[in-house]
């Protein structure tokens, strides 16, 4: 980490978004993670995506559990409320917060330990509810804060820094999410900002649970020879299958795409994702074939990346619950409390 805080004043020449804000307005507190940590690159990508989408900072709700990854919610969009909760339980906090106010943008940042071990249950059930949030897993296969134990995403045969080999099969969040009926599943790499930023934009705009599993090497405990989650190994075995360009809602579509090569997916607010297939055999709208394809490539030691599955038509929690458009926390008390006359009538059943 660095101790030198950047000044908050922005240079006048910095580009501004639709709100007239610069990227600096989407930054947060100084990161305390190790220099070179993949997580910091993801934080930068979140800053970039939030700025590009011109999200009002106060409308962004940042949620996390416990671990290195979970600390990062303090490092972006300081104008939004943050909730660093308990280990593995961020999805339930997100569920409650989202139930109270559906109008805000929810971003959860978690790690492989937080999501795939202690928090596996809550992660699965948030997917089942199609909770409207972006859920990022900063996946490095290792417990950093407790100094290098394997996590549940550690690959078979990978070596720990101290030399131990992992013999337990990994839990893959992407395949798990696809099995559970997730409506937006993506994988990326902290070192590929070009791929990651539009994925975050699309995930933030997706109506429902958007998962991005980001391979994010741990420079201190899992970047050595023999590790399958090092920078070098990831770069080598990283295989973009689908590239997603995010096209914000605007009066005129200026990004052109040629039919046949790209597949447009229209999001709920009218913005769209243009999917560019890099692997001709891959279909990101077919859950079964996509999952099979990912598994087959995995056997070859390759991580398919990009927007691996999307279904914008699935109903999210609020749609199923039939909650009103207005946030529940904004409903006037008079509409919630039925009054003394109604109570009197209700009591008739108890006489």
């Amino acid at each position: 980490m660095t101790f030198i805080a950047k000044p908050k004043v922005a240079h006048p020449s910095l580009p501004r978004n639709a709100l007239g804000s610069t990227r600096r307005d989407y930054e947060g507190a100084l990161s305390t993670l190790c220099a070179g940590c993949g997580h910091d690159s993801i934080t930068a990508a979140i800053v970039e995506a939030s700025w590009a989408l011109a999200i009002e900072p106060q409308n962004m709700v940042k949620l996390s559990g416990i671990g290195c990854s979970s600390k990062t919610t303090a490092y972006f969009v300081s104008g939004g409320h943050g909730f660093n909760s308990v280990h593995g339980r961020m999805p339930s906090i997100a569920m409650g917060a989202n139930a109270a106010n559906r109008a805000l943008t929810y971003i959860g940042v978690s790690g492989d330990g937080d999501t795939l071990s202690i928090g596996l249950g809550q992660f699965c059930h948030a997917i089942r509810r199609n909770l409207n949030m972006l859920y990022i897993i900063e996946n490095n296969g290792v417990y950093g804060l407790t100094k290098g134990q394997f996590s549940a995403s550690a690959d078979l045969g990978t070596k720990a820094k101290k030399g131990e080999t992992n013999f337990q099969p990994p839990i893959d969040p992407v395949l798990l999410a696809m099995t559970l009926g997730a409506s937006f599943v993506a994988r990326s790499f902290s070192g590929d900002k070009e791929q990651l930023v539009p994925l975050i934009q699309a995930g933030l705009k997706h109506q429902g649970f958007a998962l991005i599993d980001v391979l994010s090497p741990c420079v201190t405990f899992n970047d050595h020879e023999g590790s399958t989650k090092s920078y070098a190994y990831t770069r080598e075995h990283y295989e973009p299958a689908v590239h997603a360009d995010f096209v914000p809602l605007q009066p005129e579509i200026t990004v052109d795409y040629r039919a046949g090569e790209t597949l447009p997916v229209v999001l709920h607010d009218g913005s769209r994702i243009l999917l560019r297939k890099l692997d001709a055999a891959y279909d990101p709208t077919n859950r079964t074939s996509a999952a099979t394809h990912i598994q087959e490539r995995m056997k070859l030691g390759e991580h398919l990346t990009g927007l691996l599955y999307i279904d914008e038509s699935q109903r999210d929690f609020h749609d199923i619950n039939a909650t009103p458009d207005a946030p529940l926390n904004s409903l006037p008390f008079e509409t919630l409390s039925p009054g003394s006359k109604v109570l009197e009538k209700a009591l008739a059943a108890y006489r």
Binding site: A74, F83, N84, M95, G96, A100, H125, R129, L336
Partner: protein
């Protein structure tokens, strides 16, 4: 045999059946017909943690003086379950009555010569008059209600009226049920001297009252308090609270024009998630609650500690059941007092409310939300299975239309913009309660909520002084909480140095015990604590008495422990009367306990109970 001394409107009936045979309808019918005849009545259901086939009992106390607790003795037993005949027979008080199904005669039952046995061939009557196995079983139970109607002189017209209401949409059921009632009624009239000396007479003491269970009343309280987010994981005996909230919300919270539901109802994957959702929702400005029981509280501990330290409001109903561990899920106790008061690791203490009956469940539910938001901390409402799942006669619930929620120190956009800078954990008013803001208000209002060490400005810290500053401020908030708690109910009129201290569902038994003791020339004061932390009045009461009987329903004297830890009371003044059999405490138990201490004489120990 029984003596013909008339006893009107003052006796207890107990019905032993097999669960899953529809006896609940018959028992409700009996209860409600008594209630509608203006006679105060108490009902207790002792049911197994099972769906079908195990023994279940229902106790109905007809009580002209309006007592709400068990008396401790049974005058009329309806023994419908051969499996439990022997213990059911044993339980009848001398001079009492026993009704049983004589389709299969049981001469052994007649062995007691101090009770009267009425054999009614219930199965035979129903087999001759109804078709279908299921119907015959159900009707056998309705039939005993008819027998009791004749023996006790119940108003058959009322029974018909109730059946007509219950089966308004299925009139054929009214006829078949009435037929079963009549079969039992006529058989009893023809074969026995009806009514018994022990019987009922019309009164007018139930006007302005309802028969309601505490879970339903608490659910109504949540609805009226404006709760919009309800998250829970099913667990006996709390589930009916959520069911009731859903039922009322479906009826009263759905927009007639749009069909949209002005509430979110979430069945969580476990209790950890349930409390997480409540914390998330209240952090974000909705009134939210969960209902659970002991095992759920155990699971919620970590999150409760977070909410305490990060100062997030939450409302939790703990419908206590028998522990430890899974314990006896369908029996009652007050065994989570310590667990709730100090839930979670580290220095944590939580606000707890102790309702004594369904009426208080309703009002305390509303109060719980106000206190949680005012104090920015979890508030636990400790009901129990007895209050939560049994029908209690209580005064009509009243709603004050002028009520508006106390949202506590919550700053809106305009207020935040007027500030130079907003700091979440700063003690601006010197009462230990800081100001909070909601997401979505303004970037200036944003803050970071964390369970890790933080400064009063909201930043992460590992600095001892900064950490202690916040921890000490939380103590000041605790001191403020003491002043906001519901006060104890105190009856200090006897001028004696002797008193009973109790809480929650013991109240009815204690009150009756006080009357009985007074009649025997023993005057005792009474304090019912209604909340934790204890306030000044609790301290004063304890200080003003020399002998204090602490009456509670657990083995380890948890209320007594809380009193010794959290007040200045001299421990040696506190005598425990502990009832932990799983059945609701009776007045007799308390009377005997107090007398044994004050007027020592040889005593046989009551089962499942201890004095220390």
């Amino acid at each position: 045999m029984s003596q013909a001394v008339p006893r009107v409107n003052d006796f207890t009936i107990k019905i032993g059946t097999v669960n899953g045979t529809g006896s609940a309808s018959a028992n409700t019918l009996l209860m409600k017909s008594l209630f509608r005849s203006g006679i105060p009545v108490m009902g207790k259901n002792y049911f197994p943690s099972n769906i079908q086939g195990l023994p279940t009992w229902y106790e109905i106390r007809v009580t002209r003086d309006g007592h709400v607790a068990r008396s401790g003795s049974i005058d009329v037993m309806v023994a419908m379950n051969a499996e439990t005949y022997s213990r059911d027979v044993r339980e009848v008080a001398a001079g009492g009555y026993l009704v049983y199904d004589s389709t299969w005669p049981r001469p052994a039952l007649l062995k007691r010569d101090d009770i009267t046995v009425f054999g009614v061939p219930l199965a035979q009557l129903c087999n001759e008059n109804f078709n279908g196995v299921r119907t015959r079983i159900l009707m056998k139970n309705i039939c005993y209600a008819g027998v009791l109607a004749a023996l006790l002189d119940l108003d058959v017209a009322r029974i018909r009226e109730l059946l007509a209401e219950t089966y308004a949409k299925k009139p054929q059921l009214v006829d078949s049920n009435m037929k079963a009632i009549q079969l039992g009624y006529d058989y009893a009239k023809e074969n026995f001297a009806c009514p018994l000396p022990l019987h009922v007479e019309q009164m007018d003491k139930t006007a302005g009252h309802i028969m309601i269970d505490g879970n339903t009343a608490a659910a109504l309280g949540c609805l009226y308090a404006g709760a919009t987010v309800a998250a829970w994981y099913p667990i006996t005996p709390s589930t009916s609270l959520m069911d009731a909230f859903k039922m009322f919300s479906d009826r009263l919270r759905v927009d007639a024009n749009t069909g949209r539901r002005n509430f979110a109802f979430i069945q969580a994957e476990d209790e950890l998630a349930a409390i997480g959702m409540v914390i998330g929702a209240m952090w974000n400005g909705a009134r939210a609650f969960t209902a659970t029981s002991g095992p759920g509280i155990s699971l919620m501990n970590e999150f409760l500690g977070l909410a305490y330290y990060a100062e997030v409001p939450a409302v939790v109903f703990d419908i206590q059941r028998v522990g430890p561990s899974t314990g006896m899920p369908t029996r009652t106790q007050q065994c989570d007092l310590m667990e709730c008061a100090y839930a979670s690791h580290g220095d944590t203490r939580h606000v707890c409310l102790y309702p004594a009956n369904p009426e208080e469940c309703f009002y305390m539910a509303v109060q719980a939300f106000d206190l949680a938001e005012r104090l920015q901390t979890p508030v636990m409402v400790l009901s129990d299975l007895d209050i939560g799942m049994n029908d209690w006669m209580c005064r009509d619930l009243k709603w004050d239309d002028a009520y508006r929620p106390d949202r506590g120190k919550m700053l809106g956009k305009e207020e935040v913009l007027k500030l130079k800078k907003f700091y979440r954990f700063l003690d601006v008013d010197d009462d230990g309660i800081p100001y909070r803001t909601l997401p979505g208000v303004d970037p200036k209002a944003a803050y970071f909520t964390r369970g890790s060490g933080h400064t009063q400005y909201g930043a992460y810290t590992e600095d001892s002084a900064d950490y202690q500053l916040v921890l000490d401020r939380l103590l000041r908030k605790w001191a403020t909480a003491k002043k906001l708690m519901p006060r104890p109910v105190i009856e200090a009129t006897t001028g004696t140095a002797c008193a009973i201290v109790s809480l929650g569902s013991c109240d009815g038994a204690v009150r009756e015990a006080l009357d009985v003791l007074r009649a025997r020339g023993v005057n005792v004061d009474y304090m019912r604590v209604r909340a934790f932390p204890f306030g000044e009045e609790v301290e004063k009461f304890l200080a003003a008495h020399e002998v204090l009987f602490v009456v509670e329903q657990n083995r380890d004297a948890q209320l007594r422990a809380l009193l010794t830890l959290e007040t200045a009371v001299d421990k040696s003044k506190l005598r425990s009367l502990l009832h932990y059999s799983g059945l609701p405490i009776s007045s007799r138990f308390i009377v005997e306990g107090v007398l044994a201490e004050l007027q020592p004489r040889p005593q046989t120990q009551v089962q499942g109970a201890a004095r220390r």
